[in-house]
């Protein structure tokens, strides 16, 4: 294992310290917890948004704490859901009386830990609700499984629900909008190469030199299959196909696109992918209202990318284009 770290046990702690040093105008630490919240409480009372999950997905989730997006983020151990006490502290720290919405990615562990936090906070009289993001079309969505995983589409939920909360909307309205985004967003990824969890010390999975994994999860969970490396256009074609097969879109509809790097993929390659995404969508008569390119939901140093497509209506579009001011996403 070759990493710029000090000791594996301290990576999350030291990263959080580094984030606070880097962005004191945006985030501060909840003392004694792996929780970052906005440096300044919002001026007017608003619904507070908390997200989180295992670490290793930076800039998710703490990178999106700031005006127009999240109010707090909880950092678990690398690729491991945070514990209920941590989430509970985040909820207490950000609640300002209008309630708290938890944005959870659909993994059993995340759901259970966050639900326990909801029980703890509810016992204190704090109004807490949750939405569960499940955008990964690589996973079969049947009644026999726990459903799809949440991946990069989660960032679009943060953006849009965050913008809605900023308008002063009530908790149930913010939740409604978050659920609409979840309903309208689909993602799928691919990996060229694995990543190594510091505490594990060896790669999560191993790919041959010319082999790629299609549809793996952001913790390196196995995907749909492995195949021989193909061109960017062919891979992109396949992923967009899978997404659109799951969410048919009619000519004339508007979408937003997120081409997300998993950690070790150069922007050059993400742009090459986006070129094809844009062409494919245009071919289908779809209008792209907004494109995000870059590392939004990474998997440590995994090489690869994911594509997310969000179907927009006028409400979602307006909220997506609304301003945001966070360490990892600034939009005017």
């Amino acid at each position: 294992m070759k990493k710029v770290i000090n000791v594996p046990e301290q990576v999350v702690e030291e990263m959080l310290q580094g984030m606070v040093s880097a962005h004191p105008q945006y985030v501060k630490r909840v003392d004694g917890f792996e929780v970052l919240v906005r440096a300044n409480k919002p001026e007017a009372a608003k619904v507070a948004l908390v997200s989180g999950g295992g670490s290793g997905h930076e800039p998710s989730h703490a990178g999106f704490v700031g005006r127009g997006m999240l109010d707090g983020a909880v950092a678990g151990a690398v690729f491991t859901s945070p514990t209920p006490d941590q989430v509970y502290e985040a909820v207490k720290a950000v609640d300002n009386g209008k309630g708290v919405l938890l944005i959870i990615k659909n993994y059993s562990g995340d759901v259970m830990n966050f639900e326990m936090a909801i029980e703890m906070a509810s016992a204190d009289g704090i109004t807490v609700d949750k939405v569960i993001v499940n955008d990964d079309v690589a996973v079969e969505n049947s009644t026999w499984t726990i459903g799809r995983r949440g991946i990069a589409g989660t960032v679009l939920v943060h953006k849009i629900a965050g913008a809605k909360a900023e308008t002063g909307a009530e908790l149930e309205e913010v939740k409604r909008v978050a659920d609409k985004v979840i309903h309208n967003v689909r993602s799928m990824g691919m990996a060229l190469d694995s990543c190594t969890v510091p505490a594990a010390g060896k790669p999560s999975f191993v790919l041959e030199d010319n082999e790629i994994e299609i549809g793996m999860g952001i913790h390196g969970e196995p995907g749909t299959h492995r195949e021989v490396l193909r061109s960017a256009d062919e891979i992109t074609d396949h992923l967009v196909d899978k997404i659109l097969a799951d969410m048919p879109l009619a000519a004339g509809e508007e979408v937003a696109v997120l081409v997300n790097g998993l950690g070790a993929t150069p922007l050059m390659e993400l742009y090459i992918v986006n070129r094809k995404v844009a062409a494919l969508l245009k071919e289908k008569g779809l209008h792209i209202a907004k494109t995000y390119i870059g590392n939004y939901m990474t998997s440590l140093e995994m090489a690869g990318f994911s594509i997310s497509i969000l179907k927009l209506d006028s409400e979602l579009k307006e909220l997506l284009l609304a301003p945001a001011d966070t360490p990892a996403l600034v939009q005017f």
Partner: protein, 208 residues
């Protein structure tokens, strides 16, 4: 059951910590490769917590502390599940300093009910329940025929071992491994394995 509760917990913890790599490798095959890391971190935390406090003879109180510590240190799916299991097992053992077969039966039953409630799973879904439920049933069979605590736990341990073997034959419908569907078959479940390891540590301690 006689014997020192602290020694039992420490024996269980040491065996989990000793199997950190094995549990992690099992999870890497069908999950995300953190089960051993998470469980070891949890039992290290339990060790530190128990060492740092005054000796407590009430078994229920100690188990409650173990449960709370696991909940706040393990994370993932296993944290809430095992944490809840220990918290629930604490109730029937509240105020007790020794355990008989009847109490242990109630503790196992409560622990399993807690796991089922929290995880909304049942047997046959390739989870820790596939080790724990047969273990509980074997324990009760032994208890009903008047066997000693140690003999009942040995039966439970053997049933858990078979339960782990059984997980190899089925596909996962709960937890991260469920994403693999058919491809999860042939692999043994990490959570069932950690449950089996805990029972193994318990039985080995009693045999000493």
């Amino acid at each position: 059951m006689s014997g020192n509760l602290y020694e039992v917990i420490s024996a269980v913890g040491e065996m989990i910590i000793g199997n950190r790599q094995k549990l992690t490798d099992l999870d890497a095959a069908i999950g995300d490769g953190d089960h051993g890391i998470n469980m070891a971190r949890g039992f290290e935390a339990v060790k530190a917590k128990l060492q740092g406090m005054e000796m407590e003879s009430d078994i229920g109180k100690v188990l409650k502390i173990v449960g709370m510590t696991l909940i706040s240190s393990v994370g993932g799916a296993a944290g809430p599940l095992y944490g809840t299991a220990f918290l629930r097992a604490a109730a029937p053992s509240q105020g007790k300093t020794e355990l008989d077969t009847q109490t242990i039966g109630l503790m196992l039953e409560a622990a399993i009910a807690g796991i089922k409630e929290r995880g909304k799973a049942t047997t046959g879904e390739k989870t820790m329940l596939d080790a724990l439920v047969p273990a509980y049933e074997a324990f009760q069979d032994g208890a009903n025929t008047g066997k000693t605590v140690t003999a009942c736990l040995e039966l439970a341990y053997e049933a858990a071992q078979q339960g782990v073997e059984f997980t190899k034959t089925i596909i996962a419908t709960k937890g991260r491994a469920s994403y693999l569907g058919e491809r999860s078959r042939g692999h043994q479940d990490p959570g069932a394995t950690s449950s089996y390891i805990m029972l193994k540590a318990l039985v080995e301690y009693l045999r000493r």
